[in-house]
């Protein structure tokens, strides 16, 4: 029934070579709880046979030097970030048993966000939270978990509700989330409670081995140096001042077996380029030019209108078609926080040579979908250039004799076709007719390649061709 252990756990190093100085003893103070806790963890690792698989993520605080002692994979995290680091480790190596060991300043203050979200994601990791209500390593400053009234080096008058606020209860906080599988608070106050802590430690690690998800054990632990009390009184101090604030209980204990996160299948990482896979072949691609069939040498086109008019899309379609004809292409959009209704414009360069700047200050062509676009860009059109205006919304065009001005009632034309949304395709068709920049079939081939449905493809073709006819009519008029 009883087994008295005299030997050191195999998961501890025999000598603490990494520590320097005295390699026989730890750096913990007399009466500190860390020694007991780490012993409980090491024994559990031994008993479950997971020493090789175990990875400790140790953050800043007195626990940072656990890698002196624990003979497991060791990773030091920055202050508060252990649950994020552990997330990265566990997702990369799902077979590893990944655990964090964090103090209260680390976990509840600076790392509050990381623990909250790791818990909420139900990360399949184990977190040991050593709560001694104080910043131990830095010399006894007030922590989020310091009880009201306690004097520390940064609450010399005692923590007050009004100034510092009341202590944070992390188990209770995390227990509001659906993600965690297991949450319990224990205390290192006497042999009986230590055995409870032992049980909780084992459960939290076993949960991970068995794939139950996120496990969290808070351990109320003595820090006589930080509290400035004699070591022999420290356990009693926990009982008297901490346990009333932080009740000992199980807050969550779910038996999930389907929580193991999908990790990385490293065997698939053979460097096979994903995007280089050939796209799904076009079902019935219209005949598109593989060599430039358009007649243009160098085109600097600005398309401009309201957000929602399909301005950017029309530019993109033209760019796709031009690329299929072997032209060099750049398409650069205006972008902003507005999702809809703002202004939208894009610059599109087509060239047989490599393109230098993607921006256009003097366009060779402007497709203006609305009146503000005229004010913004029409003055800059190069002499001999083209202004193609959507007559449905553009009522006034500039009085310039040195450019070609064509007006197309694209909204009315699109509406007649039964698809007011095709305004942009009507404008695009007119542009193709006027400039011969790109073969319309190259553009339609791009639509097919992108998986455009046959009905939509046909609708786009009708709109483009209606735009072309309208351009011819407008030129004749």
């Amino acid at each position: 029934m009883w087994e008295i252990k005299h030997s050191r756990s195999a998961s501890f190093y025999d000598r603490f070579e990494r520590k320097g100085g005295n390699t026989e003893i730890t750096h913990y103070c007399p009466g500190c709880g860390h020694g007991v806790m780490q012993k409980l963890i090491a024994e559990a690792i031994d008993d479950f046979g997971i020493q090789d698989r175990a990875i400790l993520v140790g953050p800043v605080g007195c626990s940072i030097f656990m890698y002196y002692y624990l003979d497991v994979g060791n990773i030091s995290a920055s202050h508060g970030r252990a649950p994020a680091v552990a997330t990265g480790v566990k997702r990369a190596r799902p077979e590893a048993v990944v655990f964090c060991y964090q103090g209260d300043g680390d976990l509840a203050a600076i790392g509050g966000n990381e623990i909250l979200h790791a818990a909420n994601r139900g990360e399949s990791i184990t977190v040991f939270f050593i709560n001694n209500g104080i910043y131990g390593m830095t010399g006894g400053q007030m922590a989020p978990t310091t009880p009201l009234g306690q004097r520390t080096t940064t609450s010399p008058r005692g923590r007050s509700f009004e100034v510092e606020g009341p202590p944070m209860r992390m188990c209770e906080l995390l227990a509001t989330l659906d993600g965690p599988a297991y949450i319990e608070r224990v205390a290192l106050t006497n042999a009986r409670q230590n055995m409870r802590a032992r049980k909780a430690v084992r459960k939290a690690l076993r949960n991970q081995v068995e794939g139950r998800g996120f496990s969290f054990v808070e351990i109320l632990s003595p820090c006589p140096s930080g509290w400035k009390v004699p070591p022999e009184e420290a356990n009693r101090w926990v009982e008297k001042y901490m346990v009333p604030v932080f009740p000992l209980q199980v807050f969550r204990d779910l038996d999930h077996s389907d929580r193991l996160p999908k990790g990385i299948d490293v065997s698939k990482g053979g460097g096979i380029p994903f995007a280089a896979d050939p796209p799904v072949p076009a079902a019935e691609a219209p005949e598109g030019g593989s060599v430039a069939r358009g007649t243009i040498g160098e085109e600097a086109l600005t398309l401009s209108g309201f957000g929602g008019q399909g301005v950017l899309f029309a530019g993109m379609a033209l760019a796709e078609g031009a690329m299929r004809e072997g032209l060099e292409v750049t398409w650069i959009p205006s972008y902003g926080p507005e999702m809809r209704g703002g202004t939208a414009h894009c610059h599109l360069r087509l060239s047989r040579q490599p393109i230098a700047s993607p921006w256009i200050s003097r366009p060779t062509s402007l497709i203006a979908f609305n009146q503000p676009s005229i004010g913004k860009f029409a003055h800059a059109i190069q002499p001999g250039g083209l202004l193609l205006a959507n007559a449905s919304m553009v009522k006034e065009v500039p009085d310039r004799k040195d450019i070609r001005i064509v007006r197309i009632p694209s909204y009315e034309i699109a509406s007649e076709l039964g698809s007011a949304k095709s305004t942009n395709m009507v404008m695009l068709g007119a542009y193709l007719e006027l400039t011969g920049a790109v073969d319309q079939e190259s553009i339609l081939a791009a639509f097919v390649e992108k998986g455009t449905r046959p009905g939509m493809l046909e609708s786009n073709r009708r709109a483009i061709e209606a735009g072309r006819r309208a351009a011819v009519e407008a030129e004749q008029a």
């Binding site: 990875i55 890698y67 590893a96 966000n113 990381e114 995007a275 993109m316 230098a356």
Partner: protein, 354 residues
């Protein structure tokens, strides 16, 4: 085969081709498409995407995945990169490879979403604490968004260092044809990683060295690595420098404007050439010095308040006049204006010394 895509999309296609199998990200304009592509593409190649709770957490998740020996990355824009600086410093200190892409926007503070290059200092000069540097590669096309991301993974593993790709909103949002390439070097073995196995059990990933002597030795080791990087990893591009009397120096998207300006100025008879640093650390210092000895004057074009110009002046060391032309806040100089500045510079400098 050529595909038309945004620079941000090209980053992720390159990353996956390079064997990246984990992405941890937080949304921010104009970088968000990188995370979106990661969430779309990674699961299909056996990888993982986690929407992190903050950039602070994202970089630490990258720290964790990299510690475990997996090629991983994150991406953000200036405000998020500022938050990541803590983690980048820890990665540098712990000798962890990883790729961080900065798609810059205008700052300081929230600034706006316009195109700016104001993160040069915080990215090239190691914006986190302590004695470290990170290699930085600055693409100027959508193709290079892909290629330099791949290259960044290779360099990161070769030298065990975080590597940054410094792009901007224009490169992230613009579309150009791209051919997806593959990693030049096979992913190396990582015997130092902590992978949860008997072979790696005694490995330790940390950046803490309490003894001052050991910390100094560690930094000396980092310096040796950086010296190797400076020897082997300098990259730049030149345009029409062979007979140049005036040199324009620009990186990233502003080099595209500079390139257009060079063509315009050349058409007007000005003998001007472009030096485009592709690696910002290591900086193409030697080549710059050589060219500085041949030209009458140098114009630095930046979309910031003058940051790379500090490095240009440092390496030119006064042997040639260096002038700065810049716009900020998302404003863009027209290529014509830059060409005009080059013409003016030729008139003033070449005339005077001839």
């Amino acid at each position: 085969m050529r595909l038309l895509m945004k620079g941000n999309e090209a980053v992720m296609h390159g990353a996956i081709a390079a064997g990246c199998r984990a992405f941890f990200g937080y949304p921010i304009t104009p970088a968000s498409e990188i995370a979106e592509m990661a969430s779309l593409l990674l699961p299909d190649v056996g990888g993982v995407f986690i929407p992190a709770e903050s950039e602070i957490a994202a970089i630490q998740m990258l720290f964790g995945a990299s510690s475990a020996g997996v090629r991983a990355m994150t991406a953000s824009s200036g405000p998020g990169i500022s938050l990541m600086q803590e983690g980048i410093s820890y990665m540098a200190g712990a000798l962890l490879p990883g790729v961080i892409v900065d798609v810059q926007r205008a700052g300081p503070g929230l600034g706006n979403l316009g195109v700016e290059q104001g993160d040069y200092h915080q990215v090239v000069k190691a914006g986190g604490h302590g004695c470290y540097k990170t290699p930085v590669f600055a693409p100027n096309s959508v193709q290079e968004m892909c290629d330099l991301t791949i290259h960044a993974f290779d360099v990161a593993d070769r030298y065990r260092t975080p590597v940054m790709v410094l792009a901007d909103g224009a490169l992230g949002q613009m579309m150009e044809p791209v051919t997806i390439t593959t990693s030049a070097a096979p992913e190396p073995e990582k015997p130092w990683a902590v992978t949860g196995t008997a072979q790696t059990r005694q490995n330790l990933i940390t950046s803490i060295l309490l003894e001052h002597e050991k910390q100094e030795m560690h930094i000396t080791g980092l310096e040796r690595t950086y010296a190797e990087i400076e020897k082997n990893e300098v990259r730049w591009e030149e345009v029409r420098t062979e007979d140049a009397e005036i040199l324009i120096v620009a990186f990233g998207i502003s080099s595209r404007i500079a390139r257009a300006a060079v063509a315009m100025a050349r058409a007007g008879g000005v003998r001007v050439g472009l030096l485009r640093p592709i690696s910002l650390f290591p900086f193409p210092a030697r080549r710059l010095r050589q060219l500085a000895g041949k030209v009458y004057a140098i114009l630095v074009l930046e979309l910031n308040n003058g940051q790379m110009v500090d490095d240009v002046r440092l390496h030119v060391a006064g042997i040639t006049p260096v002038e700065l032309m810049r716009r900020t806040g998302g404003m863009m100089p027209a290529a014509e204006e830059v060409a005009e500045a080059l013409r003016k510079m030729e008139k003033e400098c070449v005339g005077n010394q001839a």
